[in-house]
Symmetry: C3
Subunit: 220 residues, 3 copies
Amino acid sequence: MLHDLFSPSVQHALDLAGIFVFAISGALLAVRKNFDVFGIVVLAEVTALGGGLFRDLVIGAVPPAAFTDLGYFLTPLVAAALVFFLHPEVERIQTGVNVFDAAGLGLFCVTGTTKAYEYGLGLTASAVLGVATAVGGGVLRDVVANEVPSLVRWDRDLYAVPAIVGAAIVAFCLKYEALTGLTSALAVVTAFALRLLAMRYHWRAPRAWNRRSTAVEATE
Amino acid sequence: MLHDLFSPSVQHALDLAGIFVFAISGALLAVRKNFDVFGIVVLAEVTALGGGLFRDLVIGAVPPAAFTDLGYFLTPLVAAALVFFLHPEVERIQTGVNVFDAAGLGLFCVTGTTKAYEYGLGLTASAVLGVATAVGGGVLRDVVANEVPSLVRWDRDLYAVPAIVGAAIVAFCLKYEALTGLTSALAVVTAFALRLLAMRYHWRAPRAWNRRSTAVEATE
Amino acid sequence: MLHDLFSPSVQHALDLAGIFVFAISGALLAVRKNFDVFGIVVLAEVTALGGGLFRDLVIGAVPPAAFTDLGYFLTPLVAAALVFFLHPEVERIQTGVNVFDAAGLGLFCVTGTTKAYEYGLGLTASAVLGVATAVGGGVLRDVVANEVPSLVRWDRDLYAVPAIVGAAIVAFCLKYEALTGLTSALAVVTAFALRLLAMRYHWRAPRAWNRRSTAVEATE
């Protein structure tokens, strides 16, 4: 039974942890952009809940989990308050935040893929929605903050690939009816480890071949 | 009976008035950004209908009111035409427009909260959606116009707080089964008055404590 | 029977062709913005599927076609790969791409209007959604790429008018029960031809009357 990959309370605690660290990354960007306290809250909520909200609208899970589970809404408020009062301290542990963000990425690509499949989508569509769950909040964060999304910038460490690998593992396991708590955890850990390695060794994705964009590069 | 807070025709007239003034604010931004006539129409429609559209998608009210009530679609067109032909005159009465915008803010946070609750959402989620109904159109307007959303900028007068207060009053009344035409009107007027005071006295929301962002401030 | 305007396989092939050329335009923008390979894929998918996704969420067609038809998802990947490896060649045939983009515009405003009407929306709302289907992907592309949407810029050739005319023809035919494969094709061709003429003669939409925006113009 797909719902029982992890025990419900473990699953819920993991979800809230992922939401919390995503919210931290949104709140920190808001501080860097000099937004006021509502800007901090808005970016925290959008970053934390945006990916899952998009997934739920697409699969028809309305009202989305973001609006039925009070903890999902309150957790980003806690993250926003923390950043509001202690942001120099939070920035100082940026590496720690990035590690948790990597954990959130791994967790959400797996739970997103699983939930989409439970709602009857095909394997490929489920994996795509799993990736969208994991990376969508960050894209929305950057769109609202009027920045080029970090996800698509060539000068940032790989972020999409770990989520794609995690979602693909889940889809593969679903296809062969091998999705258990163990294989799910394996997918989470694989995506998590890949993201950590990408940050450690500054893995980057290639840009188009034969670009004629010297000028553009110089100005960016 | 929640549907009868105001008589249906009064409610509908108020909705259209709110949509109209929100559309004016979108159309004026389009003129300032030097967009063409379709840019004016797009920003007018997005600003006026975006918040309600988001709420309706989240609560599963499809097709959303924006697409079932012809008046909701046509009203922003009238606002766009007015701004297209008379925008210096409209800008001259900017203060008047701001007063109406404040009225729209008050109205939409109340009707948004009420509608979400009617669709079965919890009190907190309903209030959040009420706020989103009131401020969402403005955020979408700024995103489409490629601007930092006015809502999150520290150098703009308070906009979120009045909507939050209005929505909270409604949620409180719903909790104690005290939502009537009178208490609804009270919530609208409170939000409206708070926004007027925020504009009059330039109330602003604080930014994060201990920011190290002198450089950012200097360049903005 | 509305579903049989064209034979299903012809309709599907046309859809994929439209998706392909829209994806090309998204991928080319990503290369110009110096995005990495995932940026190219994201912009290709968003441009190609965004308009239809919005329409399907509004009319309640969930999961949207973009997530049920594997071809809709894979086609933009092919376009992204093509641009990734051969983008100087693709840019060299920009005029050809623009012609196909015009064809996609004509096709999607017609199929979008028809699908919305099939789902029970009114004639005006259906036409609006048809236009949104045709132009929505391009707006989302520009929002994600952090650009002012091409649709609303005064210095770009007419893009909205052809889609509006095509959608209006379909709505008119629906009203008088005259929508057949022939009249549908006529609407597609009319929108297509109007867009070609707009590009050929640089037709532009007017900006607001009596603008006082000399300074803005000078800096853009």
